[in-house]
Symmetry: C2
């Protein structure tokens, strides 16, 4: 892989300065990820829970500091080191420049806070809530002469940059590996996500000291893409864990406010936390309390990190689903490469969307990739039932009546030898779903088998843990049809093999997209082509609005659409 | 005073059982107060601040426990003593039976909380906020056979009980002393008030750890009556006190939410605390956020204590006024006796009211008593300027440009010898204000002199610290006239001396109100007499409603009327 970086470097010297800068940051992100590989490998013997716990604990020892655009990294670190040993640190720019600094001990945070001022001039017009989001004050005019530290990229590369980058690779396998490296969350980005959860935990922990704000979904399932939302759970289980001692004699109980139901109490707690985030939480803006949704949530933007955050409560199945995906992602590197590629391909062709509706979701796509890999011969991934059978007594997990047990010790899992290339798997994926009998069969990763559809919905994918539910209930026939047609088209393009020929005579300036990059070009059938875009424009507005309304209805209570991303590759 | 209790005891044996019970509780309250005298005397060398600080610190070591109606005090204390030494405890009944338990160390609270359960059965429909308001669970049916502990009275006696009680006294001076004893806050009640502030402080302290919820007004000014509201200030000064270090080099600042003004931030903070109290605060009901008032406040009922609470912020002048009244109350016992008597007399005759409006307030009445005592020859109380002149350097206090300096060390104050009896002072008070030139003179306790009225308002009493303000701006001519007429009538009744003769031949059953008790009987001029009550009934409803609206308007932003008390003596 180091060799291919060399090629990229030579290649991008001929590009526009702006494109050069973007590509440089992409490559540095990929390099960072290459470094991560080692870190990830070292973590492979740890369970999902152990990794999350370690990251959470690191976040609790960390601070987020707003910095001037230029400053001496050395002076900055010397200043902070007065309060204790610094384990790790990095800089990034979002709405301004920021540093994440992880101390080796939590006491350093207390010492640092003791020496931190409340903004003096306007202090009476500011809410004096002392969080771990600080600002570095550089004395006077000294800042101008300072160097610019190495700010790490926290956004994904644009689709244009990706296409160029991939076209320089020598094989489809290299392309898919490179794509994963360019899109996946960096170690630093994951740290920042845990830090934002930890900062929010300080707000929630004010009333519920034993509570933990845990990230779930893409932040932890190993399939997260740079720029994706941070999904969080308010985990209150620790509160109950410490008490409930019963004797035969006298006992004491806390007097507590009662709610009409667990849901009402969840709404109440989220409502107060939402208000606190809104009024006290520095850098937290655009707070929306979406409490009437099936799963009540508080949504807000955390400006210093640039993250869109969704806080829910009592969502333990979602956390278990994250663990399951993480586990599948760890078993074979091809899983993540294929998932990242299929998701990128789907996003470019508007198969998935950043707003809720009848579109196929990333989770659905991931389950489809897992199912496809279970169907290989020999299978690349075990079934969920096999993961359950390997589980030890401590892995036992039942959530609201659903058996969510899976093995946590990856070393117990023996995989069969399958040496298929990524290129082969990609082609077979498109063929598999281009010809899948969606009209009668459902997808079931628990059994690893097609099953008869229990309902007449367009697409039926059994929820892995809540087995009576369909994870793709939202998908309508039109969207499924678009997906199938695109699979067929991509399979056909790969079968033709024309796009697999990389012309070596091309100069760096005029490299043509080939291989996987060619699959990202606008399609005639997908609605991303010029023709169909024009066709859509001619549709009467009323019909487009009706479709939008229909798609919003499907989500039930949650009618507030996510903000559309301006980044087409998001 | 012990002898007179004996008289009371003999006397009330002849009464209805219900009246007997009420009187018994009144007398026990008075007895408790007699005990308090010693406690108060011991505290006399302490400054106001030191006393408040001591009470606050005691409250932080205390818990409030809901109890069954019958239980063994010994077993209860044995159970709690496992967690540390108990300094003090008492029981009272309000909405149910409660215990206040003060440990000698704060660690005992932590230990106790460790061993306290969250209600188990419905735990998912309860907000698991762990406060210091607990419930004692007595095992099974054992409770029925247990004794009833000594529950202390926390409500004031009714006006009927007071009249009977006073009529048994042998002199007007004894009557006024007895009245103070019956109405004033008990040590236990003050402890309970500080505890409620401390419990609320736990809620506010979640976000502002250095903040303190301080009671002010009647809870601390030594003129508080059983059943009066708890006025609280959210004091955030401690937050700023710890920081604001400045060096020449790098420094760190907290990132904080900005508000448009200090007022906007106060509203925001009170709004969030109000929401937290409403949603999380056990026992807190009827939360009203009155944020648009001149002084934004959160009002709520704390059911376990039975207190109506008003939480404001940034109200340091109010705290200083409390200190001033406290100081005047400590200088000579006659001050408190006269204030309690005049306030009781005013309340019975509807000169004061529990709803906001054009009525004279308790604070106004107290300042009038202070001014009257400054006018005696020789003066019983020093002027505010004299108290300022005696102040030491550490007493210096300027709040928002107003010099609020007063001496804190009472031993520095030398009083002139004045041996007037309470009877004489009461009569002179009525004569003084029955003849006061309210039309042209204003009352000024800072100078201790009448001054020319700077405005044409009916009653002008200079605010002691904010000297450009009139504390009685709300009072209209009608209300002032009623006050003056009642003063004249009471002065006349006392001058006639008929009511001062206690007929010794009266039997216990038919004791006639005499002395001060006779002044509490309905008056012809005051509007409490039968005749005028009938007259009011004939007033058209529209006129009564107009008056009510007028009186509400006077309070400006604050249009939410206080709940009327059902206790006529409140």
């Amino acid at each position: 892989m180091a060799a291919s970086f060399g090629v990229c470097r030579l290649f991008y010297l001929g590009l526009e300065p702006q494109t050069q800068r973007r590509l440089a940051s992409t490559i540095s992100a990929i390099k960072a990820q290459t470094g991560n590989k080692t870190a990830r490998a070292a973590k492979e013997d740890k369970t999902f829970q152990a990794i999350q716990e370690e990251r959470r604990e690191q976040a609790e020892r960390s601070v987020l500091i707003s910095c001037p655009p230029r400053f001496s990294e050395k002076k900055f670190l010397d200043y902070l080191s007065k309060h204790g040993t610094i384990n790790k640190h990095f800089f990034y720019s979002s709405y301004g420049a920021y540093a994440v600094v992880e101390f080796s001990s939590k006491e350093s945070i207390a010492s640092l806070k003791e020496n931190t001022n409340i903004p003096a001039v306007e202090h009476e017009a500011a809410v004096p809530f002392k969080s771990r989001l600080l600002s570095l004050k550089w004395p006077g005019s000294q800042s101008n002469n300072q160097p610019v530290p190495n700010f790490q990229e926290q956004s994904p590369p644009s689709i244009g940059d990706i296409t160029q980058l991939l076209s320089e690779k020598d094989s489809v396998d290299e392309q898919l590996q490179c794509l994963t490296g360019a899109l996946q969350l960096t170690e630093e980005n994951i740290s920042l996500r845990f830090l934002v959860c930890s900062l929010l935990g300080d707000i929630a922990g004010a009333y519920f000291p034993e509570c933990i704000i845990r990230p779930f979904g893409s932040t932890v399932n190993s399939f997260g893409k740079l720029g994706c939302d941070v999904d969080m759970i308010l985990d209150l289980d620790g509160i109950y864990a410490t008490s409930q001692k019963k004797g035969s004699g006298l006992s004491l109980e806390y007097q507590v406010k009662r709610g009409a139901s667990e849901r009402a109490v969840t709404q109440s707690i989220l409502s107060v936390i939402g208000k606190c985030v809104d009024q006290f939480g520095p850098g937290c803006v655009g707070v929306q309390k979406i409490l009437q949704a099936r799963c009540p949530l508080v949504r807000f933007s955390h400006q210093p990190s640039g993250f869109q955050c969704d806080l829910t409560a009592n969502n333990r199945v979602a956390m278990k689903s994250s663990e399951l995906l993480f586990l599948y992602g760890q078993l074979d590197p091809r899983v993540r490469h294929l998932v990242f590629s299929v998701r990128c391909w789907a996003r470019v062709h508007n198969i998935t969307s950043s707003i809720p509706g009848a579109w196929i979701t990333n989770f659905t796509l991931t389950v489809m990739v897992v199912f496809f890999l279970q169907q290989r011969n020999p299978p690349i991934l075990p079934t969920l039932d096999q993961l359950k059978d390997l589980a030890g007594p401590s892995d036992k997990c039942v959530i609201e009546g659903n058996d969510c047990t899976i093995v946590s010790d990856l070393s117990k899992i023996t995989l069969q030898k399958n040496t298929d290339t990524l290129e082969k798997l990609l082609q077979e994926f498109f063929e598999f779903y281009g010809n899948f009998p969606f009209n009668k069969a459902s997808i079931n990763i628990r059994k690893g088998k097609e099953q008869t559809k229990p309902e007449t919905t367009a697409l039926y994918i059994q929820n892995p843990f809540e087995t009576t539910l369909n994870v793709s209930k939202n998908v309508n026939a039109t969207q499924l049809e678009r997906f199938v047609k695109l699979c067929q088209e991509s399979a056909w393009l790969l079968q033709k093999r024309e796009i697999l020929n990389r012309s070596s005579s091309q100069s760096a300036e005029s490299v043509l997209p080939w291989g996987f990059a060619a699959l990202l070009l606008p399609s005639v059938t997908s609605g991303t082509g010029v023709k169909s875009r024009r066709k859509r424009k001619l549709e009467p507005a009323s019909s487009r609005i009706k479709n939008l309304l229909d798609s919003l209805k499907i989500k039930g209570g949650e009618t507030v659409a996510k903000k559309g991303s301006t980044n087409p590759s998001r």
